[in-house]
Symmetry: C2
Protein backbone atom coordinates (compact mmCIF):
# COMPACT_ATOMS: atom_id res chain seq x y z
CA UNK A 1 0.00 0.00 0.00
CA UNK A 2 1.32 3.42 -0.94
CA UNK A 3 1.94 5.98 1.78
CA UNK A 4 -1.52 7.00 3.02
CA UNK A 5 -2.75 10.12 1.26
CA UNK A 6 -2.49 13.17 3.47
CA UNK A 7 -2.20 16.61 1.93
CA UNK A 8 0.13 19.11 3.57
CA UNK A 9 -0.79 22.75 3.04
CA UNK A 10 2.00 25.25 3.63
CA UNK A 11 -0.27 28.19 4.31
CA UNK A 12 -0.41 31.47 6.16
CA UNK A 13 0.43 33.55 3.07
CA UNK A 14 -2.03 34.97 3.78
CA UNK A 15 -4.25 33.20 6.28
CA UNK A 16 -7.44 34.11 4.41
CA UNK A 17 -6.08 32.73 1.13
CA UNK A 18 -5.26 29.54 3.05
CA UNK A 19 -8.90 29.24 4.11
CA UNK A 20 -10.06 29.98 0.60
CA UNK A 21 -7.83 27.18 -0.67
CA UNK A 22 -9.34 24.73 1.84
CA UNK A 23 -12.81 25.71 0.65
CA UNK A 24 -11.68 24.99 -2.91
CA UNK A 25 -10.46 21.55 -1.83
CA UNK A 26 -13.91 20.81 -0.39
CA UNK A 27 -15.65 22.15 -3.49
CA UNK A 28 -13.44 20.03 -5.76
CA UNK A 29 -14.14 16.78 -3.89
CA UNK A 30 -17.41 14.93 -4.46
CA UNK A 31 -18.29 13.35 -1.10
CA UNK A 32 -21.37 11.90 0.58
CA UNK A 33 -19.96 12.00 4.09
CA UNK A 34 -17.21 13.54 6.21
CA UNK A 35 -15.13 10.42 5.76
CA UNK A 36 -14.96 10.77 1.96
CA UNK A 37 -13.47 14.28 2.15
CA UNK A 38 -9.82 14.93 1.44
CA UNK A 39 -7.61 14.65 4.55
CA UNK A 40 -5.18 17.51 5.12
CA UNK A 41 -2.86 19.13 7.61
CA UNK A 42 -2.66 22.87 7.30
CA UNK A 43 0.31 24.84 8.56
CA UNK A 44 -1.43 28.21 8.77
CA UNK A 45 1.32 30.23 10.41
CA UNK A 46 1.35 33.76 8.99
CA UNK A 47 4.46 34.85 10.89
CA UNK A 48 6.49 34.56 7.70
CA UNK A 49 8.61 37.44 6.46
CA UNK A 50 6.84 39.41 3.72
CA UNK A 51 7.49 37.68 0.37
CA UNK A 52 6.97 40.76 -1.79
CA UNK A 53 9.35 42.87 0.30
CA UNK A 54 11.99 40.12 0.43
CA UNK A 55 11.99 39.78 -3.37
CA UNK A 56 12.20 43.55 -3.74
CA UNK A 57 15.33 43.50 -1.54
CA UNK A 58 13.54 45.42 1.22
CA UNK A 59 13.16 42.73 3.87
CA UNK A 60 14.48 39.43 5.26
CA UNK A 61 13.96 36.14 3.45
CA UNK A 62 10.96 34.02 4.46
CA UNK A 63 12.92 30.85 3.67
CA UNK A 64 13.76 29.83 7.27
CA UNK A 65 10.09 30.04 8.30
CA UNK A 66 8.97 28.20 5.16
CA UNK A 67 11.49 25.42 5.84
CA UNK A 68 10.12 25.08 9.37
CA UNK A 69 6.62 24.56 7.94
CA UNK A 70 7.92 21.95 5.48
CA UNK A 71 9.66 20.11 8.31
CA UNK A 72 6.53 20.11 10.50
CA UNK A 73 4.30 18.92 7.66
CA UNK A 74 6.68 16.07 6.90
CA UNK A 75 6.75 15.10 10.57
CA UNK A 76 2.96 14.98 10.50
CA UNK A 77 3.20 12.33 7.79
CA UNK A 78 1.97 14.19 4.72
CA UNK A 79 2.18 12.46 1.33
CA UNK A 80 2.10 15.65 -0.80
CA UNK A 81 2.61 19.36 -0.13
CA UNK A 82 1.11 22.41 -1.80
CA UNK A 83 1.64 26.14 -1.22
CA UNK A 84 -1.45 28.31 -1.84
CA UNK A 85 0.70 31.39 -2.49
CA UNK A 86 2.14 32.04 -5.93
CA UNK A 87 4.92 34.38 -4.81
CA UNK A 88 6.25 31.85 -2.28
CA UNK A 89 6.98 29.52 -5.21
CA UNK A 90 10.16 31.57 -5.59
CA UNK A 91 11.56 29.23 -2.92
CA UNK A 92 10.00 26.08 -4.43
CA UNK A 93 13.30 24.35 -5.28
CA UNK A 94 14.83 24.86 -1.83
CA UNK A 95 11.62 23.65 -0.18
CA UNK A 96 11.32 20.61 -2.48
CA UNK A 97 14.91 19.68 -1.74
CA UNK A 98 14.22 19.77 2.01
CA UNK A 99 10.98 17.76 1.80
CA UNK A 100 10.51 13.99 1.78
CA UNK A 101 6.94 14.51 0.48
CA UNK A 102 6.80 15.82 -3.09
CA UNK A 103 5.64 19.42 -3.62
CA UNK A 104 3.06 20.09 -6.36
CA UNK A 105 3.84 23.30 -8.25
CA UNK A 106 0.94 25.73 -8.69
CA UNK A 107 2.10 26.66 -12.22
CA UNK A 108 2.07 23.00 -13.37
CA UNK A 109 -1.45 22.51 -12.00
CA UNK A 110 -2.58 25.74 -13.66
CA UNK A 111 -1.20 24.86 -17.08
CA UNK A 112 -2.69 21.36 -16.93
CA UNK A 113 -6.02 22.96 -16.14
CA UNK A 114 -5.79 25.58 -18.90
CA UNK A 115 -4.80 23.20 -21.70
CA UNK A 116 -7.67 20.88 -20.72
CA UNK A 117 -10.21 23.66 -21.40
CA UNK A 118 -12.52 23.12 -24.39
CA UNK A 119 -11.33 26.48 -25.73
CA UNK A 120 -7.79 27.34 -24.83
CA UNK A 121 -7.48 31.13 -24.33
CA UNK A 122 -5.22 32.98 -26.80
CA UNK A 123 -4.29 36.22 -24.98
CA UNK A 124 -4.03 35.87 -21.23
CA UNK A 125 -3.64 38.78 -18.81
CA UNK A 126 -1.54 37.90 -15.79
CA UNK A 127 -2.51 39.44 -12.44
CA UNK A 128 0.38 38.74 -10.07
CA UNK A 129 2.93 40.22 -7.69
CA UNK A 130 6.13 41.80 -9.02
CA UNK A 131 7.95 38.77 -7.58
CA UNK A 132 5.83 36.31 -9.55
CA UNK A 133 6.10 38.43 -12.70
CA UNK A 134 9.90 38.69 -12.36
CA UNK A 135 10.20 34.93 -11.90
CA UNK A 136 8.62 34.47 -15.33
CA UNK A 137 7.11 31.02 -14.59
CA UNK A 138 3.68 31.78 -15.95
CA UNK A 139 4.99 33.73 -18.95
CA UNK A 140 7.26 30.86 -20.03
CA UNK A 141 4.66 28.15 -19.40
CA UNK A 142 1.90 30.03 -21.24
CA UNK A 143 4.20 30.84 -24.18
CA UNK A 144 5.22 27.18 -24.44
CA UNK A 145 1.57 26.27 -24.87
CA UNK A 146 1.12 28.91 -27.54
CA UNK A 147 -0.68 31.50 -25.43
CA UNK A 148 0.19 35.18 -25.56
CA UNK A 149 0.68 36.96 -22.22
CA UNK A 150 -0.18 40.52 -21.20
CA UNK A 151 1.44 41.93 -18.07
CA UNK A 152 0.48 44.74 -15.68
CA UNK A 153 2.63 47.85 -16.02
CA UNK A 154 4.78 49.09 -13.14
CA UNK A 155 2.36 52.01 -12.68
CA UNK A 156 -0.67 49.71 -12.52
CA UNK A 157 1.00 47.49 -9.96
CA UNK A 158 1.88 50.44 -7.77
CA UNK A 159 -1.48 52.15 -8.09
CA UNK A 160 -3.84 49.14 -7.91
CA UNK A 161 -2.30 45.72 -7.43
CA UNK A 162 -0.01 46.28 -4.43
CA UNK A 163 -2.44 48.35 -2.32
CA UNK A 164 -5.28 45.96 -3.30
CA UNK A 165 -3.29 42.98 -2.17
CA UNK A 166 -2.31 44.52 1.19
CA UNK A 167 -5.92 45.63 1.75
CA UNK A 168 -6.93 41.95 1.61
CA UNK A 169 -4.21 41.08 4.09
CA UNK A 170 -5.70 43.50 6.63
CA UNK A 171 -9.19 42.15 6.00
CA UNK A 172 -10.47 45.05 3.85
CA UNK A 173 -11.79 42.71 1.14
CA UNK A 174 -14.09 45.16 -0.54
CA UNK A 175 -11.48 47.89 -0.78
CA UNK A 176 -9.02 45.31 -2.10
CA UNK A 177 -11.59 44.05 -4.58
CA UNK A 178 -12.20 47.49 -6.00
CA UNK A 179 -8.50 48.18 -6.52
CA UNK A 180 -7.81 44.74 -7.98
CA UNK A 181 -10.82 45.12 -10.23
CA UNK A 182 -9.21 48.22 -11.79
CA UNK A 183 -6.03 46.22 -12.39
CA UNK A 184 -8.01 43.43 -14.05
CA UNK A 185 -10.01 45.82 -16.23
CA UNK A 186 -6.84 47.54 -17.41
CA UNK A 187 -5.52 44.21 -18.74
CA UNK A 188 -8.83 43.46 -20.45
CA UNK A 189 -8.86 46.94 -22.00
CA UNK A 190 -5.40 46.30 -23.44
CA UNK A 191 -6.63 43.18 -25.22
CA UNK A 192 -6.51 40.27 -22.74
CA UNK A 193 -9.29 37.77 -23.52
CA UNK A 194 -9.03 36.03 -20.21
CA UNK A 195 -7.21 36.64 -16.94
CA UNK A 196 -5.04 34.46 -14.77
CA UNK A 197 -5.46 35.54 -11.12
CA UNK A 198 -2.02 34.36 -10.09
CA UNK A 199 -2.01 35.73 -6.56
CA UNK A 200 -4.16 33.86 -4.05
CA UNK A 201 -5.48 37.09 -2.48
CA UNK A 202 -7.00 38.27 -5.76
CA UNK A 203 -9.92 35.88 -6.43
CA UNK A 204 -11.34 36.22 -2.93
CA UNK A 205 -11.25 40.02 -3.14
CA UNK A 206 -12.83 40.15 -6.62
CA UNK A 207 -15.65 37.89 -5.41
CA UNK A 208 -16.70 40.43 -2.80
CA UNK A 209 -17.22 43.14 -5.43
CA UNK A 210 -18.98 40.66 -7.77
CA UNK A 211 -16.67 41.79 -10.59
CA UNK A 212 -18.60 41.40 -13.87
CA UNK A 213 -15.57 39.90 -15.67
CA UNK A 214 -15.17 37.00 -13.18
CA UNK A 215 -16.36 34.54 -15.83
CA UNK A 216 -13.24 35.45 -17.87
CA UNK A 217 -10.83 34.56 -15.08
CA UNK A 218 -8.87 31.46 -14.14
CA UNK A 219 -7.74 30.82 -10.61
CA UNK A 220 -4.47 28.89 -10.11
CA UNK A 221 -5.42 28.10 -6.49
CA UNK A 222 -8.60 26.43 -7.72
CA UNK A 223 -6.74 24.49 -10.40
CA UNK A 224 -4.24 23.36 -7.74
CA UNK A 225 -7.10 22.28 -5.48
CA UNK A 226 -8.61 20.35 -8.38
CA UNK A 227 -5.32 18.53 -8.95
CA UNK A 228 -5.15 17.61 -5.24
CA UNK A 229 -8.74 16.35 -5.33
CA UNK A 230 -7.95 14.18 -8.38
CA UNK A 231 -5.04 12.56 -6.56
CA UNK A 232 -7.19 11.98 -3.47
CA UNK A 233 -10.08 10.51 -5.48
CA UNK A 234 -7.74 8.10 -7.23
CA UNK A 235 -6.34 7.03 -3.87
CA UNK A 236 -9.79 6.79 -2.27
CA UNK A 237 -11.05 4.69 -5.16
CA UNK A 238 -8.06 2.31 -4.99
CA UNK A 239 -7.98 1.78 -1.28
CA UNK A 240 -11.55 2.43 -0.20
CA UNK A 241 -13.69 1.30 -3.18
CA UNK A 242 -16.49 0.40 -0.74
CA UNK A 243 -16.89 4.01 0.33
CA UNK A 244 -18.75 5.22 -2.70
CA UNK A 245 -21.81 6.06 -0.66
CA UNK A 246 -21.99 6.94 2.95
CA UNK A 247 -20.55 3.76 4.45
CA UNK A 248 -16.97 4.61 5.28
CA UNK A 249 -16.16 3.30 8.74
CA UNK A 250 -19.39 1.33 8.96
Amino acid sequence: MAKPFLLGVLGGMGPLATLDFQQKLLDATPADSDQQQLPSVVWNVPQVADRQKALAGRGPSPLPQLLLGIEKLNQAGVSHIVIPCNTAHHWFDELSYASAAPLLHIVDATLEGLVALPQKPQRVGLVATQGTLDAGWYQRALAQKGMEVLLPTADELQQWFVPGCYAVKRGALREGGELLSLQAQALLARGAEQLLLACTEVPLALRTVAAPFLSLTHDPAQLLAQRCAEIWLEYRHSYFPHTQSNNWNK
Copy 2:
Protein backbone atom coordinates in the same frame (compact mmCIF):
# COMPACT_ATOMS: atom_id res chain seq x y z
CA MET B 1 9.67 33.38 27.19
CA ALA B 2 6.61 31.11 27.32
CA LYS B 3 6.22 28.39 24.71
CA PRO B 4 5.46 30.24 21.46
CA PHE B 5 1.74 30.50 20.85
CA LEU B 6 0.58 28.04 18.20
CA LEU B 7 -3.00 26.85 18.17
CA GLY B 8 -3.66 23.21 17.32
CA VAL B 9 -7.06 22.52 15.79
CA LEU B 10 -8.23 18.91 15.98
CA GLY B 11 -10.63 19.15 13.06
CA GLY B 12 -12.24 17.06 10.36
CA MET B 13 -15.50 16.67 12.28
CA GLY B 14 -16.70 17.69 9.82
CA PRO B 15 -14.25 19.33 7.44
CA LEU B 16 -16.61 22.21 6.63
CA ALA B 17 -17.11 23.01 10.32
CA THR B 18 -13.31 23.04 10.62
CA LEU B 19 -13.14 25.70 7.90
CA ASP B 20 -15.91 27.66 9.53
CA PHE B 21 -13.97 27.63 12.79
CA GLN B 22 -10.87 28.98 11.05
CA GLN B 23 -12.96 31.78 9.57
CA LYS B 24 -14.19 32.56 13.09
CA LEU B 25 -10.58 32.73 14.31
CA LEU B 26 -9.79 35.28 11.59
CA ASP B 27 -12.94 37.27 12.35
CA ALA B 28 -12.13 37.32 16.07
CA THR B 29 -8.58 38.64 15.57
CA PRO B 30 -8.01 42.32 14.86
CA ALA B 31 -5.00 42.46 12.52
CA ASP B 32 -3.43 44.94 10.11
CA SER B 33 -1.26 42.40 8.32
CA ASP B 34 -0.83 38.68 7.73
CA GLN B 35 1.80 38.60 10.44
CA GLN B 36 -0.60 39.76 13.17
CA GLN B 37 -3.02 36.91 12.52
CA LEU B 38 -3.30 33.94 14.86
CA PRO B 39 -0.92 31.09 13.96
CA SER B 40 -2.46 27.63 13.80
CA VAL B 41 -1.92 24.07 12.68
CA VAL B 42 -5.08 22.34 11.57
CA TRP B 43 -5.40 18.56 11.56
CA ASN B 44 -8.32 18.38 9.14
CA VAL B 45 -8.52 14.61 8.73
CA PRO B 46 -12.15 13.53 8.42
CA GLN B 47 -11.39 9.80 8.37
CA VAL B 48 -12.59 9.55 11.96
CA ALA B 49 -15.23 6.99 12.95
CA ASP B 50 -18.68 8.58 13.17
CA ARG B 51 -19.08 10.12 16.65
CA GLN B 52 -22.86 9.99 16.75
CA LYS B 53 -22.94 6.30 15.76
CA ALA B 54 -20.19 5.38 18.23
CA LEU B 55 -22.06 7.00 21.12
CA ALA B 56 -25.27 5.27 20.06
CA GLY B 57 -23.43 1.92 20.24
CA ARG B 58 -23.72 1.45 16.50
CA GLY B 59 -20.13 1.90 15.39
CA PRO B 60 -16.44 1.84 16.37
CA SER B 61 -14.92 4.44 18.67
CA PRO B 62 -13.20 7.43 17.06
CA LEU B 63 -10.74 7.59 19.97
CA PRO B 64 -7.72 5.98 18.21
CA GLN B 65 -7.98 8.44 15.31
CA LEU B 66 -8.48 11.38 17.66
CA LEU B 67 -5.41 10.35 19.67
CA LEU B 68 -3.38 10.25 16.45
CA GLY B 69 -4.41 13.83 15.72
CA ILE B 70 -3.46 14.94 19.24
CA GLU B 71 -0.06 13.27 18.87
CA LYS B 72 0.61 14.94 15.51
CA LEU B 73 -0.45 18.37 16.77
CA ASN B 74 1.84 18.05 19.77
CA GLN B 75 4.72 17.00 17.51
CA ALA B 76 4.07 20.13 15.46
CA GLY B 77 4.72 22.18 18.60
CA VAL B 78 1.27 23.52 19.43
CA SER B 79 0.79 25.44 22.68
CA HIS B 80 -3.00 24.90 22.95
CA ILE B 81 -5.51 22.54 21.32
CA VAL B 82 -9.17 23.02 20.50
CA ILE B 83 -11.74 20.69 18.95
CA PRO B 84 -14.40 22.44 16.83
CA CYS B 85 -16.86 19.55 17.31
CA ASN B 86 -19.06 19.43 20.38
CA THR B 87 -19.82 15.71 20.23
CA ALA B 88 -16.11 14.79 20.14
CA HIS B 89 -15.76 16.39 23.59
CA HIS B 90 -17.05 13.05 24.88
CA TRP B 91 -13.40 11.94 24.62
CA PHE B 92 -12.02 15.22 26.06
CA ASP B 93 -10.51 13.67 29.21
CA GLU B 94 -8.69 10.88 27.37
CA LEU B 95 -7.38 13.37 24.81
CA SER B 96 -6.28 15.86 27.49
CA TYR B 97 -4.47 13.10 29.34
CA ALA B 98 -2.55 12.18 26.17
CA SER B 99 -1.63 15.78 25.29
CA ALA B 100 1.31 17.87 26.49
CA ALA B 101 -0.48 21.00 25.22
CA PRO B 102 -3.59 21.92 27.23
CA LEU B 103 -6.97 21.41 25.57
CA LEU B 104 -9.52 24.24 25.82
CA HIS B 105 -13.05 22.90 26.42
CA ILE B 106 -15.77 24.30 24.17
CA VAL B 107 -18.30 24.31 27.03
CA ASP B 108 -16.02 26.41 29.26
CA ALA B 109 -15.49 28.95 26.48
CA THR B 110 -19.23 29.04 25.79
CA LEU B 111 -20.21 29.65 29.39
CA GLU B 112 -17.57 32.36 29.80
CA GLY B 113 -19.01 34.01 26.71
CA LEU B 114 -22.64 33.71 27.86
CA VAL B 115 -22.13 35.06 31.36
CA ALA B 116 -20.23 38.04 29.93
CA LEU B 117 -23.30 39.10 27.91
CA PRO B 118 -24.98 42.36 29.00
CA GLN B 119 -28.24 40.41 29.35
CA LYS B 120 -27.78 36.81 30.38
CA PRO B 121 -30.49 34.66 28.71
CA GLN B 122 -32.98 32.95 31.05
CA ARG B 123 -34.39 30.05 29.04
CA VAL B 124 -31.94 28.56 26.55
CA GLY B 125 -32.84 26.00 23.89
CA LEU B 126 -30.04 23.53 23.21
CA VAL B 127 -29.53 22.35 19.63
CA ALA B 128 -27.12 19.42 19.82
CA THR B 129 -26.52 15.79 18.95
CA GLN B 130 -27.96 13.01 21.12
CA GLY B 131 -24.39 12.34 22.28
CA THR B 132 -23.89 15.92 23.46
CA LEU B 133 -27.34 15.97 25.10
CA ASP B 134 -26.68 12.66 26.89
CA ALA B 135 -23.34 13.93 28.19
CA GLY B 136 -25.20 16.72 29.99
CA TRP B 137 -22.28 19.20 29.90
CA TYR B 138 -24.28 22.15 28.66
CA GLN B 139 -27.31 21.39 30.83
CA ARG B 140 -25.21 21.26 34.02
CA ALA B 141 -23.15 24.33 33.14
CA LEU B 142 -26.19 26.42 32.20
CA ALA B 143 -28.09 25.32 35.30
CA GLN B 144 -25.12 26.25 37.49
CA LYS B 145 -25.29 29.76 36.10
CA GLY B 146 -28.99 29.97 36.76
CA MET B 147 -30.21 29.44 33.21
CA GLU B 148 -33.07 27.13 32.34
CA VAL B 149 -32.51 24.65 29.50
CA LEU B 150 -34.96 23.36 26.91
CA LEU B 151 -34.01 20.21 25.00
CA PRO B 152 -35.10 18.80 21.64
CA THR B 153 -37.43 15.78 21.89
CA ALA B 154 -36.40 12.38 20.52
CA ASP B 155 -38.91 12.84 17.69
CA GLU B 156 -37.54 16.25 16.76
CA LEU B 157 -33.99 14.93 16.68
CA GLN B 158 -34.96 12.05 14.44
CA GLN B 159 -37.11 14.13 12.13
CA TRP B 160 -35.02 17.30 11.85
CA PHE B 161 -31.73 17.42 13.67
CA VAL B 162 -30.06 14.17 12.57
CA PRO B 163 -30.98 14.37 8.86
CA GLY B 164 -30.13 18.10 8.88
CA CYS B 165 -26.73 17.41 10.33
CA TYR B 166 -25.88 14.64 7.85
CA ALA B 167 -27.12 16.81 4.99
CA VAL B 168 -24.43 19.36 5.93
CA LYS B 169 -21.84 16.60 6.00
CA ARG B 170 -22.59 15.72 2.38
CA GLY B 171 -22.49 19.38 1.36
CA ALA B 172 -26.28 19.94 1.10
CA LEU B 173 -26.15 23.09 3.22
CA ARG B 174 -29.51 24.50 2.21
CA GLU B 175 -31.36 21.25 2.81
CA GLY B 176 -29.58 20.95 6.15
CA GLY B 177 -30.43 24.55 6.99
CA GLU B 178 -34.12 24.03 6.34
CA LEU B 179 -34.29 20.94 8.55
CA LEU B 180 -32.23 22.51 11.34
CA SER B 181 -34.35 25.62 11.13
CA LEU B 182 -37.43 23.52 11.97
CA GLN B 183 -35.59 22.09 14.97
CA ALA B 184 -34.66 25.58 16.14
CA GLN B 185 -38.16 26.96 15.66
CA ALA B 186 -39.65 24.08 17.67
CA LEU B 187 -37.50 25.03 20.65
CA LEU B 188 -38.44 28.70 20.31
CA ALA B 189 -42.13 27.74 20.08
CA ARG B 190 -41.82 25.82 23.35
CA GLY B 191 -40.51 28.89 25.14
CA ALA B 192 -36.77 29.14 24.55
CA GLU B 193 -35.69 32.81 24.51
CA GLN B 194 -32.38 32.12 22.92
CA LEU B 195 -30.69 29.13 21.33
CA LEU B 196 -27.30 27.53 21.82
CA LEU B 197 -26.20 25.98 18.51
CA ALA B 198 -24.05 23.34 20.17
CA CYS B 199 -23.15 21.36 17.08
CA THR B 200 -20.60 22.96 14.74
CA GLU B 201 -22.56 21.97 11.61
CA VAL B 202 -25.62 23.92 12.68
CA PRO B 203 -24.61 27.61 12.43
CA LEU B 204 -23.15 27.24 8.96
CA ALA B 205 -26.30 25.54 7.69
CA LEU B 206 -28.67 28.09 9.28
CA ARG B 207 -26.68 30.92 7.68
CA THR B 208 -27.45 29.60 4.21
CA VAL B 209 -31.20 29.83 4.78
CA ALA B 210 -30.86 33.25 6.44
CA ALA B 211 -32.93 31.97 9.38
CA PRO B 212 -34.81 34.97 10.83
CA PHE B 213 -34.08 33.89 14.43
CA LEU B 214 -30.27 33.92 13.96
CA SER B 215 -30.01 37.01 16.18
CA LEU B 216 -31.34 34.87 19.04
CA THR B 217 -28.61 32.27 18.75
CA HIS B 218 -25.24 31.72 20.37
CA ASP B 219 -22.52 29.74 18.67
CA PRO B 220 -20.10 27.79 20.90
CA ALA B 221 -17.58 27.51 18.04
CA GLN B 222 -17.51 31.28 17.78
CA LEU B 223 -17.12 31.70 21.53
CA LEU B 224 -14.26 29.17 21.46
CA ALA B 225 -12.63 31.10 18.59
CA GLN B 226 -13.00 34.31 20.60
CA ARG B 227 -11.26 32.69 23.58
CA CYS B 228 -8.39 31.55 21.33
CA ALA B 229 -8.07 35.04 19.85
CA GLU B 230 -7.92 36.55 23.37
CA ILE B 231 -5.04 34.24 24.31
CA TRP B 232 -3.23 35.07 21.06
CA LEU B 233 -3.71 38.82 21.46
CA GLU B 234 -2.34 38.69 24.99
CA TYR B 235 0.68 36.75 23.75
CA ARG B 236 1.14 39.03 20.73
CA HIS B 237 0.96 42.09 22.92
CA SER B 238 3.53 40.71 25.41
CA TYR B 239 6.06 39.47 22.93
CA PHE B 240 5.49 41.64 19.87
CA PRO B 241 4.33 45.02 21.26
CA HIS B 242 5.87 46.76 18.23
CA THR B 243 3.49 45.03 15.82
CA GLN B 244 0.48 47.16 16.52
CA SER B 245 0.36 48.50 12.99
CA ASN B 246 1.63 46.93 9.86
CA ASN B 247 5.29 46.71 10.81
CA TRP B 248 5.77 43.08 11.84
CA ASN B 249 8.92 41.77 10.20
CA LYS B 250 9.92 45.19 8.96
